[in-house]
């Protein structure tokens, strides 16, 4: 089945309410869409790096934890440009849904 929204849009919208790391973002998107959008580890990490390269996200490392074998989490958050892009995506989606309701 096709995804109702692109992985890019899903990640941007998942970050509107606050920062998150890769695994958390996958879970957040799955929970908020009731499982309709499932992001995989194969697509999320390159996408996050790509969005960071485009200047839509910035990332930083947290403290390493023993649960991760001494590896730190990498958190992502929207930049000003990223927030603007996410809100534009949200408006577009809302407009599409509104159009579908009226017709």
């Amino acid at each position: 089945m096709d995804l109702p929204v692109s992985a890019r849009t899903a990640v941007l919208l998942a970050l509107v309410r606050g920062r998150g790391f890769g695994l958390e973002l996958i879970e957040r998107v799955r929970e908020r869409t009731n499982g309709a959008v499932k992001l995989g580890q194969g697509s999320v990490y390159p996408l996050l790096r790509q969005l960071e390269d485009e200047g839509l996200l910035r990332s930083f490392e947290a403290e390493p934890t023993p649960e991760r074998g001494g590896r730190p989490r990498r958190y992502y958050e929207l930049t000003g440009q990223g927030r603007k892009a996410a809100l534009e995506q949200r408006s577009t989606l809302a407009a599409i849904l509104h159009f579908a309701e009226v017709k």
């Binding site: 890769g22 695994l23 580890q41 194969g42 990490y45 490392e61 074998g69 001494g70 989490r73 990498r74």
Partner: protein, 157 residues
């Protein structure tokens, strides 16, 4: 302190494994070299080389079995050991982010008593994707170094 210890033991395991493997491979190469120098008959040389390679494979597989075996939380430790070796082969950013997330995910799955095949599948998929992403990362870095970034952008359009 716990983090330092985890990092130390992970690093120690990786160095240990690499050293043992290097020793076995070097010994095998030296033995094969001697066989090729000292044994005149082709068939005997071939047989001796096959014997050496077979022995090396048996030793490596036994070592791998010993290495993967553990008494406490075997599945998680197995994943941690495999990821420890993979960490040594991929860029630190990919290792920290993707392998760390995968380990956290595995911990949750094991706590939820998910079946063994699911855990194995997750470990395999993680290793596969980490290598794919590393290849992607290296190609991008190579392209950047060669000044091909603009060319790639143009190609994508």
């Amino acid at each position: 302190m716990k983090v330092c210890w985890a990092r130390f033991t992970r690093g120690f395991r990786v160095v240990n494994t690499v050293m043992i493997l290097s020793l076995i491979i070097t010994t095998a190469i030296v033995l094969v070299g001697r066989v090729h120098r000292d044994v005149p008959s082709f068939s005997k040389r071939f047989f001796a080389t096959m014997m050496i390679m077979g022995t090396v494979m048996v030793i490596v597989s036994l070592l791998a079995r010993w290495w993967l075996r553990s008494t406490k939380r075997p599945r998680l430790r197995r994943a941690d050991r495999i990821f420890g070796v993979v960490s040594a082969l991929v860029p630190p950013r990919i290792a920290d982010e993707e392998l760390g997330d995968a380990l956290e995910d595995l911990r949750a799955r094991i706590a939820n008593r998910r079946p063994a095949w699911e855990i194995r599948l997750k470990i395999g998929a993680t290793v596969f994707w980490v290598f794919v992403h590393t290849l992607h990362y290296l190609l991008r870095k190579l392209a950047e170094a060669a000044g091909l970034a603009e060319l790639l952008k143009a190609f994508r359009r």
